[in-house]
């Protein structure tokens, strides 16, 4: 991607403290992540002219900008659920390359766990009362968030023979990676047997097929490659990006429950980057549930539709596997504060810089970060590289 000789790069990334922040406000999480990401970039708030963030109420980004003391002339708060931060980074890249912004700060913060307690994301319409908008057509029949992903998982199993053990292997690999992440919420190793014998929340999804619920946040700083040349940090290039949506919040409105929006935006992002899936060294794939990852590896083209189960099993997503994925432990084990797309970007950049620690993929040069939001409703793909295209 580039325009007018301007090329967007990521120059700073950080996570906030996580996974439990009972003493912090949501804005404080944004602030901590922002300060760390700017320090990582070698920049200060004074140089930031663009800002992006999103959360669960209107004019969210402007509220965070005020808290941070920013008066940005570019801002964005596109909400695509879990895919939001990949979309915000894509938009920021376009803005930077068009000359509409010089330095864009993107922050995420959530204290979902401390604020709501452990509701485990099973809420349908938020309990009794009027079901808002599209939730009507699920909540009245007792369908839940986990239930919606379970409907997709069951369909995939029926159509392609995917097994509970194959789904479980995703959780097992994420947990193995989390062991190398001192901040991760869950670090004790688990087996496929542990997953399939854990409590069923909504068949076929067990407790350990579901992400953890956390507090936490992150931030990234983007600017031009030209500006980055004056900074100490290793710039990471946005090689290609795309996003897509197929439906809002009713899983029954999803055209095909086994095909996520990644099937649209994945190929687009690869085409824009001028590379193919085979050139990806490390992947950060939204893992709200184990089935989310299986659908994503298929839809991004790492394997054929229906072969995701075989692709992920036996350590397929592990270090040295077919596609090292979620090297920080992912949402299944490390941290899932509600919309963890920012964590995907941070970990992808760390891997490309060689800062992956215990789970560093040797000589990682090209990474993909793919967010998934809603009820498999939105997808957004970012392809990042350590070298200029």
């Amino acid at each position: 991607m580039s325009q007018n000789g301007r090329r967007a790069v990521i120059v700073g990334v950080a996570t906030s403290d996580y996974p439990k922040l009972p003493e912090m406000s949501e804005h404080a999480v944004h602030g901590q992540a922002a300060d760390r990401a700017l320090a990582d970039a070698g920049l200060t708030m004074a140089g930031v002219d663009g800002f992006a963030s999103t959360g669960f109420f209107p004019m969210y980004a402007t509220g965070v900008a005020e808290y941070l003391g920013l008066h940005p002339t570019y801002y964005d708060e596109t909400n695509a659920g879990g895919a939001s931060f990949e979309v915000l980074a894509e938009h920021a890249a376009y803005a930077i390359e068009a000359g509409a912004a010089e330095v864009v700060l993107i922050t995420y913060g959530s204290i979902q766990l401390s604020q709501m307690g452990r509701r485990l994301g099973t809420g349908g319409g938020g309990g009794s009362g009027f079901a808002p908008g599209p939730a009507i057509y699920d909540a009245l029949w007792g369908n839940t968030l986990v239930g919606s992903y379970a409907l997709a998982a069951r369909r995939h199993m029926d159509q392609f023979g995917t097994t509970a053990e194959q789904l479980a292997s995703v959780a097992v690999t994420m947990r193995a990676h989390a062991a190398g992440n001192p901040q991760a919420q869950e670090r004790d190793p688990i087996t496929v047997e542990d997953v399939v014998s854990s409590r069923l929340v909504a068949d076929p999804l067990h407790k350990l097929d579901c992400c953890v619920i956390s507090d936490g946040g992150g931030a990234c700083v983007m600017t031009t490659a030209e500006r980055a040349a004056d900074l100490e940090t290793t710039p990471i290039y946005v090689l290609g990006a795309a996003h897509a949506t197929t439906h809002h919040m009713n899983i029954s409105s999803m055209p095909d429950l086994t095909v996520s929006p990644a099937a649209q935006c994945g190929p687009l992002a690869f085409a824009r980057a001028g590379i193919g899936p085979a050139e990806i060294d490390v992947a950060q794939l939204y893992d709200s549930f184990t089935i989310t990852v299986v659908l994503t590896v298929e839809d991004l083209g790492f394997c054929a539709k229906g072969e995701g189960g075989a692709f992920v099993e036996n350590g397929g997503l592990g270090l040295g596997g077919r596609l090292p994925t979620n090297t920080d432990g992912g949402g299944l084990s490390a941290c899932h504060p509600g919309m963890r797309g920012m964590f995907l970007i941070v970990e992808a950049v760390r891997q490309l810089r060689g800062q992956g620690g215990a789970t560093q993929v040797p000589d990682a040069r090209i990474a993909v970060a793919h967010g998934t939001g809603g009820m498999l409703s939105t997808g957004a793909t970012l392809i990042l590289g350590k070298e200029a295209p």
Binding site: G124, G125, S128, G129, A131, G142, S252, L257
Partner: protein, 149 residues
């Protein structure tokens, strides 16, 4: 009042002019789908414009109340306290006969959750949830039971 399967505390719909026809029919135990009178496509949930041809003209088309299970799950965690003694219950996405392309989320009742299968034939059954609110749920089709014998 009908037989009851779900508690009074379930969420209730916020109905508007675009969706009222569907809920009104349901209140009278009539399962309908919104059909575009320009191109004939059916859609659910109800909405103001045909996503196929953009026409705003539509009618509430009565369905036979039969269909098949497209996919299912068994919800085992209560999201409101009064569901605690109703779990596990079966949530299905059902493909309705006469409404091609329009699936709806509902429940399969009167069945052991371990007996549910994709493709299973189902018949509508109504649950009166309040004075003017009835919800279509489904039970295994009578003829399917016959053919199994």
């Amino acid at each position: 009042m009908s037989e009851r399967w779900f508690p009074d505390e379930m969420p209730v719909p916020a109905v508007n002019a675009e969706t009222n026809g569907w809920w009104e029919a349901a209140a009278h135990h009539r399962l309908v789908v919104q059909r575009c009178t320009a191109c004939g496509a059916t859609r659910h949930p109800p909405g103001p414009v045909c996503p196929t041809c953009r026409s705003t003209a539509s009618e509430w088309s009565e369905l036979p109340g039969t269909g098949s299970v497209f996919t299912y799950t068994v919800v085992r965690q209560a999201f409101i306290p009064s569901l605690a003694d109703r779990i596990p219950y079966v949530v299905i996405a059902v493909e309705l006969d006469g409404a091609e392309g329009a699936r709806m989320v509902s429940n399969l009742i009167d069945i052991d959750p371990s007996d549910v299968a994709i493709g299973m034939r189902v018949d509508v059954v109504w649950e009166d949830m309040g004075p003017h609110l009835a919800l279509p749920r489904f039970r295994p089709a009578a003829d399917a039971k016959e053919s199994e014998r």
